[in-house]
């Protein structure tokens, strides 16, 4: 068996294979639903209804999508430059930490000043966190996959330490949580009575900006070039290491904005369950979007919909809500296969 590149993928193929991936995902989840004793059709309908069946459901989905857009963008930009940042989880938490450290009273400023400062501070915290692995990669050749993965565990313990120590809320009845950020630091809700907040708008703006950066700027060009072929890039005079550092700053900063937005828009404080694996799910989001920043918005909403829908489906149909995690993981694997198949033809002889 061998793979041959297709000169130009046909329109039908670019449509057909991803649809095939979706179909394969649905078939696999159907089997799981059957195993759980539920009708697959019911399960899918309930998931769809739970994700988008009402204004409330839709708002919940968009709320859940918000951090996923941020982590998805963080992964998309890093993977584009082949910087394998698997540490968006940790960077997100660092964003949350920075937000809480400065936002709970240290800076008594009005909202128009405080919010940008908190954004900048959280981005800086996340960026610096990823700078370490990027430095180790470029300077010593240490694989960043392992270092960013291990940092996830380190940072989570660090957060837990803060929440039981210096950042602990004395009124928290012993729960490991920080005190709430100032009202001036809170992102307002978009619709009163719904949880959707302006963090979502911020996420959309971030993805548009990132899209422009990737498409139109020299930095975006450099990141793509380095990702595709670092050796040719170096030969052409592109400063590969410095591009990787910039990529790390951007990626870490974007993931950290997710932490900022969760704290100031949704939770109000920092807890050690601020992220429901948003960092890891961000990888799926970015891959489903084929690393396109605008696509990240769509895929984040789709993935969030599955999770939100599965939660309500689980209550109604008695199928474990982990079916959503399975579905998302299977979607990742089938989709990368589908993307490959649109570009290559398999010849069996």
């Amino acid at each position: 068996m061998r793979l041959e590149p297709k000169p130009a993928p046909s329109f039908a193929a670019t449509l057909l294979y991803p649809l095939g991936a979706v179909a394969a995902t649905l078939v696999f989840t159907s089997v799981l639903a059957l195993l759980a004793g539920a009708s697959p059709l019911d399960v899918f309908l309930l998931v769809a209804k739970g994700a988008a069946g009402s204004q409330f459901a839709l708002m919940e989905t968009l709320t859940r999508a918000t951090p996923l857009i941020f982590t998805g963008l963080a992964i998309a930009v890093a993977f584009r430059a082949k910087l394998w940042n698997i540490g968006a989880e940790a960077q997100l938490y660092m964003g949350g930490v920075a937000t809480v450290v400065l936002g709970t009273g240290a800076l008594p400023l009005p909202a128009p000043l405080l919010i940008p400062i908190l954004m900048a501070a959280s981005m800086l915290a996340g960026a610096l966190l990823l700078l370490g692995p990027a430095f180790l990669k470029t300077r010593f050749g240490v694989d960043e996959v392992v270092t960013t993965l291990l940092l996830n565990f380190i940072v989570l313990l660090f957060v837990s330490m803060l929440l039981e120590g210096p950042l602990k809320d004395p009124m928290g009845m012993g729960w490991p949580q920080s005190i709430k950020v100032l009202p001036e630091a809170r992102l307002p809700r978009i619709i009163t009575g719904r949880r959707l907040h302006y963090g979502f708008v911020l996420a959309i703006v971030a993805s548009v900006i990132l899209w422009v950066v990737m498409k139109r700027t020299t930095l975006g060009y450099e990141m793509r070039a380095v990702g595709h072929n670092p050796e040719a890039s170096r030969f052409a005079g592109i400063p590969v290491n410095s591009v990787l550092m910039k990529t790390a700053l951007l990626s870490g900063g974007l993931a950290a904005l997710g932490g900022f937005s969760e704290v100031t828009g949704l939770k109000g404080n920092l807890t050690s369950d601020l992220s429901a694996n948003f960092g890891y799910t961000g990888i799926v989001v970015a891959m489903l979007a084929m690393l396109n920043p605008l696509g990240v918005v769509a895929s984040a909403i789709f993935v969030a919909g599955i999770f939100v829908g599965a939660d309500s489906m689980s209550r109604a149909a008695g199928v474990p809500s982990y079916i959503a995690d399975v579905m998302v993981a299977v979607a990742l694997l089938t989709m990368v296969t589908a993307i490959m198949l649109t570009r290559f033809r398999i010849r069996w002889r």
Partner: protein, 313 residues
Amino acid sequence: MEAFEILLQTSFWVAAIRIASPLIFATMGELICERAGVLNLGIEGIMVAGAFAGWVTVYGGGDLWTGVVVAALVGAAFGLLHATLTVPLGLSQHVVGIGITLFATSLTYFTYRLVLPQVSSPPKIEPFTPLPIPSLSEIPLVGQALFAQTPLTYLAYAVVAVTAWVLYRTPLGLAVRAAGENPSAVEAQGISVAAIRIGAVMVGSALMAIGGAFLTMSAFNSFFFEMVNGRGWIAIALVVFGSWRPGKALLGAVLFAAFDAFQIRLQQISGGIVPYQVFLMMPYILSIAALILVARRATYPKALMVPYQKGER
């Protein structure tokens, strides 16, 4: 000098070897994959799946060794999936590996909830018990540590020996090492690179799964979420630390486990002055430090992460 005395306690070394055992399985598994040229980032998820598969087999009435075999088969199945996507199809080993970890983990959690919908505290099984080897276990200090462990630990020793033997002393091992260095050398001698790599990933993944099963069937006696807790990633660091050699990787795993056991004891005698999280961070920090230490002189298998197509050179 309490800290130093820890090193002289038999119980400390017994714990170190116990902590090392799952890492040894996982590290050997990853080493085999990487020696054949495939980075297997599915390791973390495969360990989760193995931990559950072994435990649930015993929970469902199977005997312990059946549990180990089931865990290995489950691991091999995930390995087959990984290899199918990364070897003949040549997909990114990073992305597929992470995907396998997410898939194996979520499928395990789903199945766990399916099997035990309502339990709050995980049910227990009767795990492997220590089986002191007569006379060997009576050697002072090391005897208890090395030879008064459960049979699964002895299996871990055997796995290292067999891995080293196969890689360096058999025709199959030649093919595996060549597949990770220059696959066209394998192809030119009439051996299928794809078959070697798929086989290596399946065997490696089976070992990772047994490493996971050690947690539920020997170290503890039940399955709970997040119990693998980054051990897979640490195993990947240990492979690099061990320069892709079974003996050195074993040494790395034992050193690492000794450090881990040490920090637990240190934590107990530190009297809470230092937050316990600092101690818990140590293994991960140590792993990163170890990577930095060896990165300069690490000689990766040259074809690691490089997909291969027939007739290509």
